[in-house]
């Protein structure tokens, strides 16, 4: 399984090369990888899908933190893996034709394959941390794919919006997952899934659940985070079809489904997921009917589907989970097909809006036929698989233990408008009066048609073979989501019952609504006003706010005045050190002992103090340098007096060289001028004295405090026996702590080279 995940990244690295060698058939060649993966996953259908086995594989990654590269293939993972690799095959092939001749086509392949690998990693991960890593990888690849046309500003903004929303959710998710791992005592899903009782009764259950839900909602575009998804349609159509309908946006749903056995089944779970999902479902389909852009309608109907899935997982009954898996499969098939059809319309006619299309059926009969089939599934019409899923959904909603009334109302209303959307997609472009388009339409080439044809056909076949679909594919997935096998059997025909009647009613009402589509759009124009205060506005405002805040903060902190930087740093130092000294005042005794002073020491100290005063107060550069020399030599004397001959010698030599250096440079700078007014000088002097006082206090308190024995004892004892040296200071420098000294001489060399470079560059500047 590791290979299955990594192969995507490996092939992605080769993709630009393949593209360059085979610009025309590169898409087909690269599509071989998803095809191979699909076959590999399909080969597990009997063991995992039919017999319900669970494959586990694990590699050590960061064992000290309990993080493994653990993979798990059960029914749910298999369903997703098949969708990802299967649809991925058509998408890559489609992209080869759709963007033929595009400058950055090679990059598109790279990103698509990277995305596919990340998504596979996400659904196969058995470890929460690796799951999160792959989760973020899908966010990043999605960002790069939405911003694929990076020359266009709206595309860049949409990409950024999607990234911010999903990554902000990712942050919440990470917190939630880490908390989950700590509460559950393991980061392995296989262990967490068996600890439902302990997890749901834990005090941190609500925060964990809410954090994870925020992550899942942002990814799966649930209200109030739904707004990024329609904007993400700035991506090239194959990308929209793949990421933003069939796979990535389902990652949130996947996570909720995956954790259902561990965290689900509580009232909080049902309330949050069920209600938010139902509302998202209704809002999505409502906005879909209000839109006219082809991809926008599809995007909003994807929001509706994701809402439906969240709602069903929220309800959490066996029936609801069955419905969720069926709906998931149905939606991926028909929505993938429809998006690809939208791409064909764009590619063949140049139209991006339903109002600009009509009567295309004559020119593109095959496309029209299969678009119709997919739309029937979207509308939930017998005998398509979408019908099966919708019937199950009605059944589950009517059977819901909580909020059944609200959910059912919203579900029926959504179903009505869902039929309208299906009619818009399945009828509007193909029939009726011929609308003049930018390009004259032709039937699409095979690479573009393959996806819609196969996916739409599957919608039909799986519907006809509903019981087999369950026993081979869905059953194991439902078991994985439920945590235990489910008895409910799926079939196409349930007899005449309440769900069927609701379906029939919604079909009739939906078609009626389609007839009055234009009227409906005009009648609901008031909604645009609401959008002004909607979540998207809040997002825009907060992004602006953050930008302004950081600009303000940069102006305040990075103002270019060294003085103010110093004031902030030093002020904080004084406060931090001072408060600590104050807090521990009872444990600190200040050392006040002048008894051991000798006369010559007092003289040296007096000379040092007056030289310092001189250096500060003088208005002549020469006397400033002279007093620096005096300070240096006095310090050298201090070293010599207090048993540090090496330091004394070094200091004297350095002092000599410093004077030479200052003479060479300083006198080529202008004289001192008084630049600051007196009150500023006083302010600076106050701060400087405060720093000095802090340092003095610190030293007085430190010198009476010993927490542990000095390492010096070891150096003193071992210097002669082990290192054959009698000058312990030198032995430390060249033997005990050689690596430190090596670092220090490297710093010296760097300083010298820096000086050389600055002087040389100046010479070159003058030459030019």
């Amino acid at each position: 399984m590791l290979l299955a995940v990594l192969s995507g990244f490996l092939v992605a690295a080769l993709a630009p090369l393949v593209h360059r060698l085979q610009p025309r058939f590169g898409g087909w060649l690269l599509a071989l990888l998803p095809a191979a993966l699909f076959i590999w996953f399909a080969s597990h259908l009997r063991a995992v899908g039919h017999d319900g086995e669970v494959l586990l594989q694990s590699w050590q990654w960061i064992p000290s933190l309990g993080i493994h590269l653990a993979f798990r293939l059960d029914g749910l993972s298999l369903l997703f893996a098949l969708l990802i690799s299967g649809i991925g095959f058509f998408i890559v092939a489609y992209a080869g034709r759709y963007l033929e001749g595009h400058r950055d086509q090679g990059r598109l392949y790279v990103l698509l394959l990277c995305f596919m690998a990340s998504m596979l990693g996400l659904v196969l991960s058995d470890n929460l941390i690796s799951l999160f890593v792959f989760w973020e990888l899908t966010s990043i690849t999605s960002y790069l794919l939405v911003g694929f046309n990076h020359a266009s500003k709206p595309a860049r903004l949409s990409a950024r919006q999607g990234l911010f929303v999903t990554v902000a959710g990712g942050l919440a998710l990470m917190t939630g997952l880490v908390m989950l791992g700590m509460v559950g005592g393991s980061y392995e899903l296989s262990e967490l899934l068996t600890e439902r009782e302990a997890l749901t009764s834990h005090a941190l259950y609500a925060p964990i659940l809410l954090l994870i839900v925020v992550g899942a909602f942002t990814k799966s575009a649930q209200f109030p985070f739904h707004f990024w998804l329609p904007n993400a349609m700035a991506a090239p159509t194959p990308v929209s079809a793949y990421l933003h309908s069939a796979t990535m946006v389902k990652a949130g749903v996947y996570l909720l489904a995956r954790l259902q056995p561990a965290l689900g089944g509580t009232e909080l779970w049902t309330a949050v997921l069920g209600l938010a999902g139902a509302f998202t479902m209704f809002l999505g389909v409502f906005l879909a009917v209000r839109s006219t852009g082809i991809k926008r309608v599809l995007a909003y109907s994807t929001v509706m589907a994701l809402g439906t899935l969240t709602m069903l997982i929220g309800i959490g009954t066996e029936l609801a989970l069955t419905a969720a898996m069926a709906f998931l499969l149905a939606h991926s098939l028909y929505k993938g097909a429809l998006f690809l059809v939208a791409g064909i319309i764009d590619h063949e006619t140049g139209s991006k809006d339903f109002l600009d299309t009509g009567g295309l059926g004559k020119a593109m009969p095959v496309t029209a036929l299969f678009a119709g089939v997919a739309a029937l599934s979207l509308g939930g019409i017998i005998p398509l698989f979408g019908f099966v899923a919708k019937e199950l959904m009605f059944e589950a909603v009517l059977d819901a233990p909580l909020f059944s009334g609200i959910l059912a109302t919203l579900a029926v209303a959504s179903a009505v408008m869902g039929v309208t959307v299906a009619a818009i997609v399945g009828l509007k472009p193909w029939y009726g009066q011929r609308v003049q388009t930018k390009k004259s339409p032709h039937e699409a080439p095979p690479a573009l048609l393959a996806g819609p044809v196969v996916l739409a056909t599957l919608s039909l076949l799986l519907g006809l073979a509903a019981p087999q679909t369950q026993s081979w594919l869905l059953g194991a997935a439902i078991t994985a989501v439920n945590g235990a096998p489910v008895e409910k059997s799926i079939s196409l025909w349930h007899g005449i019952n309440l769900p069927l009647m609701l379906s029939a009613a919604s079909l009739a009402l939906g078609l009626l609504l389609y007839a009055g589509w234009a009227l409906f759009r005009r009648g609901t124009r008031f909604v645009d006003l609401l959008a002004k205060i909607g979540p998207e506005q809040i997002y825009e405002r907060s992004i602006d706010g953050i930008t302004r805040l950081s600009a303000w903060q940069t102006r305040m902190l990075q103002n270019g005045y060294l003085r103010y930087y110093l004031m902030i740093i030093l002020g904080s130092t004084i406060v931090l050190v001072g408060s600590q000294l104050f807090a521990f005042r009872d444990h600190i005794t200040l050392l006040f002992d002048f008894s051991d002073l000798r006369l010559y020491e007092v003289v040296v100290a007096g000379v040092l103090a007056s030289a310092v005063l001189m250096a500060v107060l003088t208005s002549s550069r020469l006397s400033a340098v002279a007093s620096l020399g005096a300070i240096g030599f006095t310090v050298a004397l201090v070293y010599v007096l207090f048993s540090a001959p090496d330091l004394g010698i070094t200091q004297v030599l350095i002092e000599t060289l410093t004077v030479i250096l200052l003479v060479l440079v300083l006198f080529r700078l202008p004289r001192f001028i008084k630049l600051s007014p007196t009150h500023l000088r006083l302010r600076d002097a106050g701060l400087a004295l405060a720093v000095g006082a802090t340092m003095t206090l610190l030293m007085l308190s430190v010198n009476n405090t010993y927490y542990f024995p000095s390492i010096s004892e070891y150096h003193i004892a071992e210097s002669a026996p082990a290192a054959y040296g009698r000058n312990i200071v030198n032995v430390i420098l060249v033997d005990f702590r050689t690596l430190d000294t090596l670092g220090e001489i490297f710093v010296l060399a760097l300083a010298a080279i820096g000086v050389l470079a600055m002087i040389r560059f100046r010479a070159e500047d003058k030459d030019t």
């Binding site: 005045y561 007092v602 240096g632 540090a644 330091l647 340092m695 002669a720 430390i732």
Partner: protein, 115 residues
Amino acid sequence: MITLMSFLVGGLYAAAIYMIMRRSIVKLVIGLVLLSNAANLLIFTSAGMTREAPPLIPYGALAPEGAVADPLAQALILTAIVIGFGVLAFAVVLIHRAYEIVQADDMDQMKDTDT
């Protein structure tokens, strides 16, 4: 002596900070020199000040007789002195370069990076 040195080092720090906060770049350089002296003396004082007992071992012996001054602090300071010189040279040349370009001895006129 430690008490007296603590006050001296405090004074050195105060002088160094005051000089660094001046607008004149030459004063900034002087402040840097003061600051490195202050830091060295801080470490030296904190290691305890021992008279007439350098960390040397007499010829033929394996260990010094009696207690000696802390050699580790001295090793630290020795490299710090030399590096301090390197950094000072770098700073001085950098300041000189900046002065040549900006033609001003005023830190406030160097706050823009676009010149």
